[in-house]
Amino acid sequence: MTHLPTILILLPLLGALAGALTYLWPTGAKRRSNIRTLEHSNIRDTIAMATTTGSVVLAAVLAWTVFLSLWLGGGAASHVDWFTWLNAGPWQVTFGALTDKLSATMYVVVATVSACVHVYSIGYMHEDASRRRFFIYLSAFTFAMLMLVSAPNLVQMFLGWEGVGVCSYLLIGFWHHKESANAAAMKAFIVNRVADAAMLVGLFLLLQTFGSLTYGDIFGQLGANTAALMNAVTPLFGYEVSTLSLAALLIFVGAMGKSAQFGLHTWLPDAMEGPTPVSALIHAATMVTAGVFLLCRLSPLYELTPDVLHIVAYVGALTAIFAATVGLTQTDIKRVIAYSTCSQLGYMFFAIGVSAYPAAMFHLTTHAFFKALLFLGAGSVIHAMHHEQNIFRMGGLKTVLPITYVCMWLGSLALAGIPPFAGFFSKDLILESAFMAPGGWAQPVYYVGALAAMLTAIYGFRIVFMAFEGAFMGDEKVRSHAHESPWVILGPMMPLAAGAVLAGLLLSPMGTLEWWQGAIVISHHHDALHAAHHTPAYAKYAPLLLAICGIAAAWYLFAEYRNIPRKLASVLAIPYAISLNKWYVDELYDLAVVRPTRVLAGWLYRFVDQEGIDGLVNGAADATKQAGQALRQTQTGHVAHYAFAMVMALVVGLGLLLWRVMG
């Protein structure tokens, strides 16, 4: 029982390794012909798919076992040490698996969605020649993600953090023959590097302050000498900054990158260049929530830095409203959902900002189900439409894709927060916590969130109505070939659909602090979560009302009277342009960062690098080579010369020695 988490973490790795071993299978290419026979590659693909999918499905079963035994079986949190990697004096890095309610919840989310996505991909990728590679990456990603969430220290966490980053890079650029996919993969990697640089500095600060990066040690010290730690300061540009706040802020910047918060979000919509199952797994349900998870894991730290929490809340709210407005006007079905993910992650962060970590984790869990469902549904549409992603070339698909249509409805209802679907419970809890945050400082956040909830309903149902209702707007040839997806694609959507409907109801204890059994700590100074029980009725029902209005508006605009939006766009030209162009963030970065960097880089390249540094480096390298050559010349091959060198060295050495000893 204690080793169950270890097994479930290692299973996807084993699956990926076993899949990778199929590359050693003799290809037959050398023996028969240079063309790889399809038959051979099919066998190997099947083996790779079986090992990866099988291992992840098994991992999902184990994850549920661990989760349920912790929740209903009354099991206690466990901690298994695997091995000590580094042992540098007082600082140790011991790898292991920490299994409490927080990581067990993540096991369930990661492994379940991953299992569904694996099965789905068997159908979705069946025409792809290199699907074996795809499955191996998927399983490797799952392993890295499980490492991230199970880590008992920040070093192992960071290893997983970078591991998911690499897998995300590989999977976004999976179709590497597409220029745009390569660019998107690199963009994701680079933006995340910027965030990770900040995070690393934060981790170094923690290491310097606590002498350890193990959660247990850090939290223990935070509890033992709270006052001293809170007064610790770090000099920064001539000012003295609270060390804890600085570290918390820097780690939050890292989380912003991974979780696509405003400012560092630009990679997420572009990441939609990857195959759709990847978007569902990595860019909706799991990897992008790593930042939320990390902040919840570090709740004892963040509880001591209320100023940083305020920043978290404002950034979250800004992201929620920003992404919602952009989602209104995008035409690519996957991009709309990507912005919706961005927006929902914003909700989770402002929940953290008001110290409602349980609400954030609750929303993370429900969101994983309905967002993965929406992505897989979108994938089903794209699959049926022969890779058409523009919703303005769809329409009226409900007769062609009835099952997908129902799934999209369920997912969108959950997203919009309509009871009794999953999103209602978690999103409501977040908004109520924001409204009731002690001191009322977070009420603006609540209003922004409520407004975003209406926009969410509008853009969520915009894609449903545009794609499935009304008249078909695309190429007739495509439509005549469109067909409902096979069951290997629809099947994995069913558990997710069940989750989208039921998760909110069944998992509602997650919204209380007590359920987490100490895995999350909330200071009683700012306990918004308890106060949320006493939310006034108007604040409680306003978001729901707004969401219903949003759905009605979406029906009116995008199913019944489709020419109104066009008129609206021409009347409200400026807001429309801002939304369509994503608030010009990419352009701003281009202008403020990319171009100046490029100009500076060009200048540095020409004058400093080529003439200065190259001169130095090449000079040093040449000098080294010449020194090597010169020393090599002394290697004459004559024994007498060697003996002479030895004796000379001896004479000099003894001379120095005698000078020391006698003088």
Partner: protein
């Protein structure tokens, strides 16, 4: 009366060497001799691991001739563990050249016996005897391919310069005896422990004895024989010379410096630091201009000895533990590299840097193993080479020799260059036309034990890179009990 169980491994090696000699003389084939030799070495591991015997042998007056401690014990186990794969390398090499003789195993075992004496020496006389017993078989082994000029040349060079070093050692011992009237380490320690600078006569004598050890270690400026000998000697013998005598010599050096010479630390510590820096820099810098891979590895050995000396300079248990760790990892990496090189030689691949071009395409397995071993050599993290360097540099910084650690890191940058250069050649360069013609076609079945040795080396290097505790939990306690 001396407890003979202490001496059992040493005696066993000598007796087993003679048994092998007799077996070979009375018609035993070289191949079965190889099997017997490996069997004997493996058998010897059993009592050494299960019943390690500690204590002093041949106690005379204040001290003893030989002293067995956890440190020597671990060093001897490591020597045995390294000797077995090296013995496995000989057969595929010499069989291919029709020069496989049973004597090579006798010589290996005798040399190993000499190393056992050397590691345990507590007196200058057994130290001299051990050094010579270790070296003489090496000279003969280097000349094993009698009909090849470079083999004989290598042996002769090694012999002449080794003889010079031995002569200086004996001269040094004579001076020490003249100054103190003893050859025992223990009495010497008492004589030197009175404080103040030693007699000039005594200090010159001691310097000469240390020099003999530095010669065996091929520390700059006593290194010049190394490339010529490594290149000329038969490849398995080169592997033997690269992996084993270094370990024995460094154990002696540590026990000499921390024992009788411990009072003179202020004299030897800076001197060794300078020599370590010189070895690291010269070894790495010259290596980048080499075209023959064996010669390149010889220079790399010189650089690596410099890294090992860093641990000696640190003069702390952590440093000495790091030394053992480094040499075990380095020895194994070398054995793995030479195993791959022999395989390449047998496949008539040119073993020059440019001849390796395109190897990854011709022989992906060999190239992959070379890649991993070279990465370990360069000190790239998931491999053991990184941990080995960390284990000598960290104590060095703790001892206050930060400048030497900086020099070491810079030298390892240069060393990384030639490792990665080889990798680049294997993976990215296009082979010249004649190479492609000369090389034998791909053989599917590997009948030789070479692949086994190389694979084992790669596996250990990987495992120790992730779980360094497996070895460092042994070396560190051993290093706290040098005597």
């Amino acid at each position: 009366m001396t407890d003979l169980t202490l001496l059992f491994p040493t005696i066993f090696l000598a007796v087993w060497a003679l048994v092998l000699l007799m077996y070979g003389a009375f018609g035993g084939s070289a191949r079965t001799t190889a099997a017997f030799a490996c069997f004997g070495l493996a058998m010897l591991l059993v009592p050494m691991l299960t019943k390690p015997a500690m204590g002093s042998a041949f106690v005379l007056g204040q001290g003893a001739l030989l002293g067995f401690s956890p440190f020597t014990q671990l060093a001897q186990v490591l020597l045995l563990v390294l000797a077995i794969p090296v013995a496995l390398l000989a057969e595929p090499f010499f069989e291919g050249r029709k020069a496989h003789r049973a004597e090579i195993y006798t010589l290996m075992l005798l040399s190993l016996c000499g190393m056992f004496i050397l590691t345990a020496a507590q007196d200058f006389l057994p130290m001299y005897m051990g050094l010579e017993l270790m070296s003489f078989p090496l000279y003969i082994m280097a000349a094993m391919l009698r009909d090849r000029a470079e083999s004989s040349e290598a042996a002769l060079k090694y012999f002449v310069l080794g003889g010079l070093a031995s002569g200086l050692l004996l001269f040094g011992v004579g001076l020490v005896y003249a100054a103190t009237g003893t050859t025992q380490f223990a009495s010497l320690m008492v004589a030197l422990g009175q404080g103040g600078m030693p007699w000039p006569l005594l200090s010159v004598g001691l310097a000469l004895t240390v020099l003999a050890v530095l010669f065996k270690l091929s520390v700059v400026p006593f290194h010049m024989w190394t490339p010529d000998v490594y290149q000329g000697a038969p490849t398995p013998v080169t592997a033997f010379m690269a992996a084993l005598p270094k370990l024995a010599a460094i154990v002696l050096l540590v026990r000499l410096l921390e024992g009788p010479l411990s009072g003179l630390q202020e004299l030897w510590q800076p001197a060794l630091a300078v020599l370590a820096a010189a070895s690291m820099v010269v070894g790495s810098v010259v290596a980048i201009r080499q075209t023959d891979v064996k010669r390149l590895l010889a220079w790399s050995t010189i650089a690596n000895v410099g890294f090992v000396l860093c641990g000696v300079v640190a003069a702390s248990p952590q440093g000495h533990g790091g030394v053992l760790f480094y040499l075990a990892v380095y020895g194994l990496t070398m054995v793995g590299l030479f195993a791959v090189l022999i395989e390449l030689e047998n496949l008539q691949e040119p073993v020059t840097v440019h001849g390796l071009a395109g190897l990854a395409r011709r022989r992906p397995w060999l190239a992959t193993m070379l890649l991993m071993l070279l990465f370990s050599m360069a000190g790239v993290p998931p491999f053991a080479g990184f941990m080995a360097k960390l284990n000598v540099f960290a104590p060095l910084v703790a001892a206050g020799y930060t400048w030497l650690a900086v020099v070491g890191v810079m030298a390892s940058v240069v060393a990384a260059f030639y490792s990665l250069w080889l990798v680049k050649t294997m993976y990215f360069d296009v082979p010249s036309a004649e190479v492609a013609v000369v090389a034998k076609p791909v053989q599917s079945a590997q009948q030789s034990p070479l692949m086994l040795v190389a694979l084992a080396a790669v596996a250990v290097v990987l495992v120790l890179g992730v779980l360094p505790g497996l070895l460092s939990n042994l070396t560190l306690p051993a290093a706290t009990a040098l005597f």
